[in-house]
């Protein structure tokens, strides 16, 4: 029997794909099917699984910790995806300018993504301790608030005066004219120094001691420790997405911008009408990757909860909830419940990505 070329080609392809299909089959398909099976059973890793129907799923909905984890996951995912997409795009646009030494800037801005989560979490713990840099910075800011207010006031007065003077001379000057600010700012600084010297303005005794990590206090419904994780994760993921945007930006023909410039378009109009629409495929990729990544937040919760002393209720996410039930500290594994939660997380991820395809940005256009 002779195989025709097409069949032969297919066979070769299958042969080359075999190792990947094997790992996919064992570590994804088989694991997934096992998880589906376990989610309908009461299983502790040791005794044979007992079929319990939908009991695990119902128990999830009654567990306050699960509901909290669900809320944290959704809120975290939404906030981080929005922030990282926005700032990555902003940064990519800035770094796409033909400036001297731009490559060095690109390297510097990419560095945070190289930091491991463990190291970044440690930094986070130091920053947000009660005696950490964040509280010390806030203390300093509040202590010198009178100076800052005086600086702003004197700057406004001097700058305003200069602007009026220029306008009277017929020059169409705006308040934020940098040339005038070059004179106003040193004068304002001198003024503040003089006020301080005369004892009219002095630093105040302020000690900000906000417990950022060991707390369940919330801001906009999200606990402080989770906000800390949001800030850190946004900071470390922006660079990766920035690179994707940069690649996308490189693919937009310059002629479009030149034509728009000839038509008198402002930079904002060009950004809105040319850059963003042509970046849609990248934007779709960034948002999808962002959503999937954020929905699976786990390691920072482990570090901030463990070493940072943040209460579980303030940081728990769905991925951590799954882990915490498979390996509960000092208790028997609850594999059935964890499997149900894992499938819930998988379903949620799929749903969120589908929703964003339907309602948000997709490869071809806005939903």
């Amino acid at each position: 029997m002779r195989l025709n070329a097409r069949t032969l080609e297919g066979l070769y392809a299958l042969l080359l794909l075999l190792p990947f299909l094997f790992t996919l089959g064992v570590f994804f398909l088989y694991a997934f099917l096992r998880a589906v099976y376990f989610s309908f059973t009461d299983y502790d890793l040791f005794s044979p699984p007992q079929f319990v129907g939908l009991a695990n799923y119902l128990r999830l909905l009654e567990d306050p910790l699960f509901l909290r984890a669900l809320w944290h996951t959704l809120a975290y995912s939404l906030v981080v995806t929005v922030l990282q997409t926005f700032f990555a795009l902003l940064l990519a646009t800035a770094l796409n300018q033909p400036l001297r030494g731009i490559t060095a800037f690109r390297t510097v801005y990419y560095l945070p993504s190289v930091v491991s989560t463990a190291a970044a979490s440690l930094l986070l713990l130091w920053l947000f301790q009660r005696t950490g840099l964040v509280n010390q910075g806030l203390s300093l800011l509040l202590a010198y608030l009178p100076h800052l207010l005086a600086l702003a006031l004197i700057f406004a007065l001097v700058q305003g005066g200069q602007v009026l003077w220029e306008r009277r001379r017929g020059a169409p000057t705006g308040f934020w004219d940098p040339a005038l600010a070059l004179i106003s700012l040193p004068l304002a600084l001198l003024g503040v120094y003089a006020l301080g010297f005369l004892g009219l303005v002095g630093p105040r005794e302020v000690r900000v001691e906000i417990p950022w990590l060991p707390t369940t206090a919330t801001f906009l419904g999200i606990p402080y420790p989770l906000w800390a994780i949001i800030l850190m994760n946004t900071y470390t993921t922006i660079p990766t997405f920035m690179v994707l945007f940069l690649a996308g930006l490189k693919g937009i023909p310059k002629t479009l911008y030149e034509a728009a410039a000839l038509d008198g378009a402002t930079p904002w109009t060009m950004f809105r009408r040319i850059t963003v629409p042509l970046l849609r495929p990248v934007l779709f990729l960034v948002i999808t990757l962002g959503l999937i990544g954020t929905l699976q937040l786990f390691d920072q919760v482990l570090f901030v909860g463990g070493s940072g002393g943040a209460p579980l209720e303030a940081t728990v996410t769905l991925a951590y909830y799954v882990y915490g039930n498979v390996f509960p500290s000092g208790a028997t594994p609850r594999v059935g419940l964890a499997s149900a939660a894992a499938l819930f997380l998988a379903g949620l991820t799929l749903l969120v990505v589908l929703l964003q395809r339907r309602l948000g940005v997709s490869e071809r256009g806005w939903g």
């Binding site: 502790d44 890793l45 040791f46 005794s47 301790q129 009660r130 005696t131 001691e209 417990p211 990590l213 060991p214 707390t215 369940t216 206090a217 070493s307 002393g309 209460p311 579980l312 209720e313 390996f327 509960p328 500290s329 000092g330 208790a331 028997t332 594994p333």
Partner: protein
């Protein structure tokens, strides 16, 4: 010549086959050096005569996860460490061999009875305690001298102890009397001293008036200027504050000795018992202990039992004790001359040893039925919420009680 060589090879090959191999596992870190030394110098020479070879496989990383996985998959070693904290949930799986048939009553009676009791589940013994720890109070002699305050002693009550801490903190300014942590592992002994029990007869946890009294005292230490919250000093445990001379006292077990040896070798510290409840005039304590337990699926149970016996033998425990590495679990060692030696570490080890018996007061093993960390979490969170000023005592205890009721089935 070839024939002779072949004969020698066959001889050695057969002798290797004749040896029974017993795999043992524990956690990694500093324990690896201890167990390796113990095996080389004490255990293996004794087992060589019996034709048993011990294969030691220490586990770096999360030991509990590894053990649960290995037991579930049927790949666990013959002998392994079991921490008292998660012992009950592991014994309940039926994957650990009861040891009653391998050890006579007399042999078991040689170990401290409360440790034996800690590893007894459903009337059967599932582990031979290898060593243990209790909590003791360490104090920095230099800092107390500098502040002109008398050292803490075993007659101190919560009140007199607190007064000393307050004096140290006031006089030294940047040094805390004690750095407190929001952790059941450090707080509960004070609650035990009041007569509070973690579980009542029906298995429920009730945060009663006794508990509240200890809770109010402990969480109020920072407010009353006797202590600072560990995390505010950039530390996660009282030993960290103590080693860095950020606090004048610490509440830790004998494990602090190794840490201080590395971190602050010149620190002059003394050790005494935890203070007494001024009402009951008793103190409380926890026993933290680890056993050697046997895999129920082991194919070499008899050999494993012999290895277990060698690992917990008087010689092995003496070897460990003399190196100041751990507190052994045999009763006879209470009279050991090591404990009577002068010096920081023998004193620390003596107090920690005595913490498990009568001078320790009301002592419970560090385990909470099968609930583990789930049981500790509501109390830890209540401690933290009050210490950081986020909740009142009433609110924090009410929330903790609701969570514990849900957990222990008390409605």
């Amino acid at each position: 010549m070839r024939k002779i060589l072949a004969t020698i090879l066959v001889f050695f090959g057969l002798s290797t086959l004749a040896q029974t191999q017993v795999r043992i596992s524990g956690w990694g870190g500093p324990d690896v050096a201890i167990v390796t030394g113990l095996l080389r110098e004490v255990v293996q020479p004794r087992l060589d005569r019996e034709g048993i070879r011990v294969i030691y496989e220490p586990i770096e990383g999360d030991y509990t996860q590894w053990l649960f996985n290995a037991l579930s998959a049927g790949t666990a070693p013959d002998l392994f460490y079991v921490d008292i904290f998660w012992s009950e949930s592991l014994f309940a799986t039926g994957r650990v061999e009861p040891l009653d048939r391998y050890f006579s009553r007399q042999e078991i009676a040689e170990f401290l009875p409360n440790l034996v009791q800690a590893f007894t589940y459903g009337g059967r013994l599932y582990g031979i305690p290898k060593d243990f720890n209790t909590l003791a109070l360490q104090f920095n002699r230099d800092l107390f001298d500098e502040a002109g305050v008398r050292y803490p002693n075993q007659q101190d009550t919560w009140e007199t102890f607190e007064a000393k801490l307050r004096q140290v903190q006031t006089r030294l300014g940047d040094v805390a009397g004690l750095c407190v942590v929001a952790d059941v592992a450090r707080f509960a002994p004070f609650a035990f001293a009041t007569g509070w029990r973690p579980f009542d007869d029906r298995g429920h946890t009730v945060l009663d008036g006794n508990f509240r009294r200890a809770f109010e005292w402990y969480t109020g230490l920072t407010r009353r200027g006797a202590a600072r919250f560990a995390q505010d000093l950039g530390e996660g445990w009282t030993g960290g504050c103590f080693g860095g001379e950020k606090a004048a006292t610490a509440i830790e077990g004998a494990w602090i000795a190794g840490f201080l040896r590395d971190r602050a070798p010149n620190l002059r510290y003394g050790t005494t018992f935890l203070p007494l409840d001024p009402v009951t005039q008793r103190r409380g304590n926890f026993i933290f202990t680890v056993s050697w337990s046997m895999n129920a699926q082991s194919r070499n149970k008899e050999a494993a039992a012999r290895v277990l016996r060698a690992l917990t033998s008087p010689e092995a425990q003496q070897w460990v004790l003399e190196r100041g590495l751990a507190i052994p679990s045999r009763r006879a060692l209470a009279q050991n001359p090591y404990f009577q030696r002068a010096g920081r570490e023998p004193e620390l080890n003596r107090i920690v040893f005595q913490g498990s018996v009568a001078p320790g007061g009301v002592v419970y093993p560090f385990k909470f039925r099968g609930f583990g960390g789930d049981w500790m979490r509501p109390i830890n969170e209540a401690l933290q919420a009050v210490m950081t000023g986020q909740k009142t005592v009433d609110q924090a205890l009410r929330d903790a009680q609701v969570a514990l009721d849900r957990l222990t089935g008390r409605r």
